[in-house]
């Protein structure tokens, strides 16, 4: 990742314009769809926003911190299961967790999000504490292995759906809002996405961002100025997982379903594809990547079952000819303050 330029917020006019266009474009899409009487497209926009959010999480680890995690599906899935389990418990009246203390289910998004982020963060703290002692290919493989462990764990746990997953019969609600309304649900997802982007932009401009990016560029340099690389990277990894976990909770609500496939390695791969397509280490890279992915999935998927072949070709093109991804193509090389 050494050659990947990282944008750190202000300072690059072209990139700011691209970011603004992406933010406004994503916001305008469901409004236009509803104006045309096509609520399906509003759901598609929600899907793009949620997947972008998952990518924003991964981008923090992969793009800014240089931690090529191939296990972010674990955090996405944990977030999803948090929402699914809470919702099902609320629906059936059985506690979500019976032991050691009974925790009742809830259909309120806010505590569900907190639980999703806390659980994903906790898992990431454990996985990161072990995985971050390695680097390169070993790090990729260890994160993958942990995610697969959680995947098989989910499959073999019938109480929470096992292979069949869990259905969320009634979409979780947001206090004061009608989460069933496609536009409202989109705005909830979009709000989360913008908050995560705002947080990322701020943090990467602040001290923790300077340390995290230096850890990616040159960990030995970071240690030489008296900053331990390990806690910096672990912090980045945990926050990254929490954002992806939040996306997982929203994804479960969007689909009304959570299953082990959310935890599978191909989900990790997809999230990575959003980041690489859009631009590794570029603030809005995952947004561009996820929007493009969802568009291609929808448009090409309607034409052929082999639409992923086209995604593969596009990905190949980006990796070979446009290291900065879509955002890099549109905004040029990243710059630092």
């Amino acid at each position: 990742m050494a050659e990947t330029a990282v944008h750190i917020g202000r300072g690059h006019g072209a990139e700011r314009r691209v970011n603004a266009a992406l933010a406004l474009g994503l916001l305008a899409a469901p409004l236009a769809a509803l104006a045309l009487g096509e609520p399906y497209y509003a759901n598609l926009a929600s899907r793009a926003a949620i997947l972008a959010l998952a990518g924003v999480g991964l981008n923090l680890a992969l793009g800014y911190g240089g931690m090529v995690s191939f296990g972010h599906a674990a955090f996405f899935g944990i977030g999803g299961y948090a929402a699914g389990i809470a919702a099902q418990a609320a629906f059936s009246g059985v506690p979500a967790i019976g032991w050691p203390v009974a925790i009742p289910g809830t259909a309120n998004m806010l505590p569900i999000w907190l639980a999703a982020m806390a659980l994903a963060g906790l898992a990431a703290a454990g996985i990161g504490a072990i995985s971050l002692r390695t680097s390169g290919v070993y790090f990729i493989m260890i994160t993958l292995a942990f995610a697969q462990m959680i995947y098989y764990f989910a499959i073999s746990w019938p109480e929470y759906g096992g292979e069949d997953g869990l259905s969320i019969y009634v979409r979780n609600g947001f206090p004061g809002l009608d989460s069933y309304d496609p536009l409202t649900f989109f705005l909830i997802c979009y709000g989360c996405l913008m908050l995560a982007l705002g947080f990322t932009a701020l943090a990467m401009r602040a001290r923790v961002g300077a340390a995290l990016m230096c850890a990616r560029m040159n960990a030995s340099r970071l240690a030489t100025v008296g900053i331990e690389p390990f806690p910096v990277k672990l912090t980045g990894f945990v926050i990254s997982a929490m954002i992806t976990g939040l996306a997982g909770a929203l994804f479960a609500d969007l689909n009304g379903f959570v299953g082990p496939s959310m935890l599978g390695w191909h989900t990790s791969g997809e999230i990575m594809v959003f980041v690489i397509l859009g631009g590794v280490g570029r603030l809005f890279g995952p947004v561009a990547g996820a929007v493009l992915y969802v568009l291609m999935e929808h448009v090409l998927g309607g034409l052929t079952g082999h639409w992923q072949l086209v995604i593969g070709l596009v990905l190949l093109g980006v990796v070979l000819f446009a290291r900065g991804g879509l955002v890099g193509l549109l905004a040029g090389e990243a710059r630092h303050g």
Binding site: A5, V6, G9, R10, F199, L202, A203, R205, A206, R207, V208, G209, A210, A211, M213, C214, M217, N218, S220, R221, L222, A223, T224, V225, G226, I227, E228, P229, V232, T235, H336, G337
Partner: protein, 259 residues
């Protein structure tokens, strides 16, 4: 300059040993660095200079022996822990955050010295506690006009200066200079020698260097390493005169010339 025995050493190495298999790369090595002193470490390739630097800096654990910085044992500390206690260093091959500007590189060092790296909300470029000391250090090292240039775009000589500036921004007790003249060419050597001369007395320096002109001009004391052992230690004049040193290291050449 500082006489041995008058002051407490800022850096003391006691009976350091390190082996790679059967090869003793550091063989019961002891040496001291006094406040304000430049102590040069010379020796042929393979004498164990780089391994010694790695052990002092904390990248490599010694097999036995101790290292003290300002009277405190640092042998068990991490690289970052030693840096926080006042061990600054430069690398044989420049080691910087290349995508960051010169200013942001030095700001990292200021941040490291401050010991607070978990700020999430104040942009570093608007944090005067970081920018002001960093700009002051850059100015001191003649890099003020290059502050906003990415390190990747700086010349080799400027990278050397920048590494020194970063080490200095840590306000170190001891500066480990690992072949600072390496790769800057004959043209850059006198300039860098002058810079180091200007810093002399402000911080104690352990200078590992092949350039004999620079070594004899800068050093208060010279220790000659051979096969992991210190075979000679003394002021530059005595080193020039030593037959042992000439044998092992200088190979009978004029010690004032290239080593």
């Amino acid at each position: 300059m500082a006489e041995q025995g008058l002051a407490e050493p800022v850096l003391e190495i006691r009976n350091l040993c390190k082996s790679f298999g059967a090869l003793k790369v550091t063989d019961d090595l002891s040496l001291t660095l006094l406040p304000g002193e430049i102590h040069a470490l010379i020796g042929p390739n393979g004498a164990g200079k780089s391994t010694l630097v790695a052990q002092i800096a904390g990248q490599l654990a010694q097999d036995s022996g101790q290292i003290f910085l300002g009277g405190r044992e640092i042998s068990g500390l991490s690289v970052a822990g030693r840096a926080r206690l006042g061990l600054g260093r430069t690398f044989q091959v420049s080691s910087l955050a290349l995508e960051f500007s010169a200013l942001r590189n030095v700001m990292l060092a200021v941040q490291g010295r401050a010991g607070a790296s978990f700020g999430f909300f104040t942009p570093v470029l608007r944090d005067r506690r970081l920018t002001e000391p960093a700009r002051a250090v850059l100015a001191e090292f003649d890099l003020a006009s290059r502050a906003d240039i990415p390190a990747a775009a700086l010349s080799h000589g400027e990278l050397r200066q920048l590494e020194l500036a970063m080490a200095f921004a840590l306000e170190p007790k001891v500066l480990l200079l690992d072949e600072p003249m390496a790769g800057i060419g004959a043209g850059g050597t006198p300039a860098l020698t002058r810079v180091l001369e200007g810093l002399k007395g402000r911080v104690a320096m352990l200078l590992i260097e092949h350039d004999m002109d620079a070594v004899f001009r800068l050093a208060d004391r010279i220790t000659v390493l051979s096969e992991g052992r210190a075979i000679f230690s003394g002021p530059p004049g005595a080193v020039r005169a030593s037959a042992v040193v000439r044998d092992v290291y200088l190979g009978g050449d004029d010690p004032g010339g290239e080593g």
